[in-house]
């Protein structure tokens, strides 16, 4: 039977190194299968997160041959197996152990984003009427499985460590999903501009490239939000309106 070698990062709290494991491979296998096989046969205490194994839960994010990917959706036949396949934890988050990182920051960020606020119901029975096309418009954002691969590659977070000033692509998508939700009447533009740091994104589109759900993060979520922010805060007319009209910040 054919074998392949996996060069897996082992260690705790950022300290450690690569270790090679050679294991049998079979048709259709994905990287997560190989990691599980290595865990069962050679490295019982190897730490890895996973759940659905079908690209739906976003737990098994890692960097495979340097590319941020879901291990469960990366097939071995898409990788060169004549040399070791490297598997490393995501780099933008504090390391816990082996392939597992501390993604708690993401949960804290989400909590800071003002929540969904619906308009009053359209019908006396308390329900709303929504056109399918309005649902379709935000479906793309709502597909997000929160794998945080976009956060992992965003250079504002990964290289510049500006976690305290910038919420990252995942949460710009989340904010876009709320702002463009057909029922939502909340207003997150001032927050986006100031504490969420939307201006820090300089549209390199790295996030869009790694999204396993193929969400067009930059073009469909971030740029329209940037336009709304600019329209509100930098358009001379609306600026005047703001000064002399309603005092929204």
């Amino acid at each position: 039977m054919a074998t392949a070698t996996f060069r897996i990062w082992r260690g705790e709290k950022g300290r450690g190194g690569f270790q090679d494991y050679t294991t049998e491979i079979a048709s259709g296998m994905v990287v997560l299968d190989a990691v599980h096989q290595i865990q069962a046969e050679q490295a019982g205490d190897l730490s890895v997160r996973w759940n659905c194994k079908a690209g739906k839960c976003g737990s098994c994010s890692a960097e495979i041959n340097g590319m941020p990917k879901l291990m469960c959706m990366t097939r071995l036949n898409a990788l060169p197996l004549d040399k070791p396949v490297t598997v490393e934890p995501m780099k933008a988050f504090p390391h816990i152990k082996d392939l597992v990182t501390d993604v708690a920051w993401n949960y804290l960020v989400k909590k800071r984003i003002p929540k969904f606020k619906p308009r009053p119901p359209d019908a006396p029975d308390g329900t709303w009427r929504i056109a399918q096309q309005d649902v379709d418009r935000v479906q793309e954002f709502r597909k997000c499985i929160e794998c945080y691969l976009c956060q992992d590659v965003c250079h504002v977070l990964r290289e510049h460590h500006m976690q305290d000033q910038f919420i990252g692509p995942r949460f710009l998508v989340y904010a876009a999903a709320l702002e463009m939700h057909p029922l939502d009447v909340g207003d997150r533009l001032a927050d986006l501009r100031k504490q969420f740091g939307i201006g820090l994104c300089n549209i390199t589109k790295c996030c869009t490239k790694v999204c396993p759900e193929n969400i067009t993060i930059t073009d469909n979520a971030i740029i329209p939000l940037k336009e709304r922010v600019v329209g509100r805060f930098f358009d001379p007319l609306s600026k005047l309106f703001r000064i002399f009209g309603h005092g929204e910040n």
Partner: protein
């Protein structure tokens, strides 16, 4: 006791899928302090995998639907072993629960007039499933999660509970560990809600993730609560079968709801060959009529592909055994054929079944808009669980509640697709409400330090074992045993064999040793989960031996027919005083007259 991290809450919820989160939202709304224990990260529970939709008789697509029809469909699907009061509450309350999700931000697909769209599903008489494409579960869990995080819940991610704590008869908290550092935690609470999901990891071919090791079932059983209906394990008829590494991953029933058909290797629609008498009057008698049904023709009856899951799974198994299966040992599920019927088939399939398209394209190199899928049964769900009071979801232990998959009653002998997500909402809400009420009327109980210490010792002992058994190997062997000997079709001799093997594996599980330290140690966690898996596997097998008939998801080769007598009881198990499993046949209370009349009218 200084070495344990201590927490105090009014209501402790174990599990953070749909039921757990819905319970947390409700309890929190009642003004009590709530903790949620999540075995994985928040938002990753199995609910996320639910595809088809939430069953609720809103009547948006067919106004002939109402709670009475949903109630009788659920009872018929469960072969009348259901707790009829739960089936009644579920059918009545599901629509409001769906609307509530919408008010919290969930976006469902719409009808032409802008209301929530509903789709056809197996065993449901009318289009009833509120859905968004084929990722309804994600929409639901994300909505609950995003709503819940603003309510001040204390969420403990990547924590696992290994024991419930009791003070005399009542439950007063739970004991567990965090995955990251392997520290032990004491969670004191006035009420505890189990919402731990299922037992799918007891089987080799399963749609369930690593988490589903029967934790809630096992915790409740060891604490002295009764479990019920544990012989009923649902094998979903359509899991992926090829390539081997994807075996078991779910293919939504929504494929059939949208017009997909099952064929054997000869191209035959084999589901037409065997239609159970209970459904004869509701099933199409031609392919043409079946197609019209899936396209919304109100005069047509449903195609046999949309019969209940137990039946479809057995028919598939039979085709395969009799040599008419697909090349890799399943059958063909074809949605591409609708090209012959509608002009925009390709777009339509991608629109209604986007994640199925994605899943097959990426994992199996199959374009489902062009060619059929190969599918076969996969372990999906357990109908059995903690026996609870229908209204409050409290078990027979004061202060211990259960909701969702780990509770029994609603689904009887077989669950209808779509009735799970609605179950999570309706009974998650009820469990949260009654747990909060219970907590308000009581105070924190006393802790028994000795029990904590012995649970800790028992968990840590695995580090000292000599290395003769590997936890992963024992788990895989158990999965093989359950798959082979207590699977879709069962018989006494094989199940007796399974029991012997389970005893051997139990002994092996005590010799299991783990490498490394306590920090995020997957081997250690697997070894601890194994104890629960062994408990539930034994209970499933003994319950299955006890039911000497075939009904719903439980099929006995040696007792292949339904036995009228057996429709009158549920099989209930409790832990005896000497630690032995005590099984009783508990009579089902007579169905209330008005509900009985509904069942009769809908026949």
């Amino acid at each position: 006791m200084a070495e344990y991290v201590q927490h105090e809450h009014d209501v402790l919820i174990i599990g953070a899928g749909g039921a757990g989160l819905r319970a947390a939202v409700e309890a929190s709304a009642a003004g009590v302090r709530v903790a949620v224990i999540s075995k994985s990260l928040l938002g990753k529970a199995h609910t996320v995998m639910a595809e088809g939709g939430i069953a609720a008789a809103m009547g948006n697509v067919d106004d002939r639907d109402d709670w009475r029809v949903h109630f009788s469909d659920t009872m018929r699907g469960g072969q009348y072993l259901n707790n009829w009061r739960m089936a009644e509450l579920h059918a009545k309350e599901a629509p409001a629960c769906v609307r509530e999700l919408e008010a919290w931000g969930a976006l469902f697909d719409r009808t032409k007039d802008g209301r929530i769209l509903q789709r056809n599903f197996g065993g449901h008489r009318y289009p009833r499933l509120a859905h968004v494409g084929d990722r309804t579960g994600l929409e639901m869990i994300r909505t609950l999660q995003d709503h819940g995080i603003h309510l001040g819940l204390d969420v403990f991610m990547e924590h696992t509970i290994i024991m419930l704590l009791k003070d005399d008869d009542r439950v007063v908290g739970a004991f567990g560990y965090d995955r990251e550092r392997g520290r032990f935690h004491v969670f004191r609470a006035k009420a505890v809600v189990l919402a731990t999901g299922g037992i799918g990891r007891a089987y080799k071919i399963t749609s369930n993730s690593w988490e589903y090791t029967g934790d809630g079932h096992s915790l409740a059983y060891h604490a002295g609560a009764a479990l019920m209906d544990m012989e009923f394990v649902q094998f979903h008829p359509t899991g992926m079968i090829w390539p081997p590494s994807v075996r078991g991953i779910l293919v939504t029933e929504g494929v059939r709801g949208e017009g997909g058909v099952l064929r054997n290797r000869n191209g035959e629609r084999f589901m037409f060959k065997d239609i159970p008498p209970l459904y004869a009057g509701q099933t199409a008698n031609s392919e043409e009529e079946g197609w019209r049904y899936t396209q919304g023709d109100k005069d047509a009856r449903r195609p046999p592909e949309l019969l209940t899951r137990d039946h479809v799974a057995r028919c598939i198994r039979q085709e395969v055994r009799e040599g008419r299966g697909s090349p890799h040992g399943g059958v063909f599920l074809d949605i591409a054929w609708i090209k012959a019927k509608v002009p925009d088939a390709q777009e339509r399939i991608k629109k209604k079944l986007p994640s199925m398209y994605h899943q097959f394209k990426q994992l199996a190199d199959i374009d489902i808009t062009q060619e059929p899928m190969e599918v076969g049964p996969t372990t999906h769900y357990v109908m059995g669980g903690v026996r609870v009071d229908a209204d409050s979801q409290m078990s027979d232990i004061p202060g211990l509640f259960a909701a969702g998959e780990c509770a029994a009653g609603l689904h009887g002998a077989n669950r209808l697709g779509g009735n799970s997500l609605s179950d999570l909402l309706v009974f998650g809400k009820r469990a949260g409400e009654y747990a909060a009420k219970f907590a308000k009327e009581t105070s924190l109980g006393r802790l028994n330090t000795k029990n904590l210490e012995s649970a800790e010792r028992s968990a840590l002992r695995l580090f000292e074992n000599d290395g003769s058994e590997n936890p992963y190997t024992v788990q895989h062997t158990l999965q093989d045993v359950m798959q082979e000997l207590v699977g879709i079709v069962r018989q006494e001799q094989e199940m007796r064999q399974a029991l012997e093997r389970i005893q051997e594996l139990r002994a092996a599980s005590e010799r299991v040793s783990v490498d490394g330290n306590r920090e995020y140690n997957s081997g250690w966690h697997t070894a601890l989960d194994l104890r629960n898996l062994l408990t539930v596997s034994e209970i499933v097998t003994l319950s299955a031996l006890e039911r000497k008939e075939s009904r719903g998801a439980h099929f006995r080769d040696d007792f292949p027919v339904k036995d009228g007598q057996s429709s009158t009881f549920n099989i209930v198990v409790r832990k005896g005083v000497n630690g032995e499993m005590q099984f009783i046949r508990e009579p089902i209370p007579p169905v209330r007259a008005d509900l009985r009349q509904i069942i009769e009218e809908m026949k």
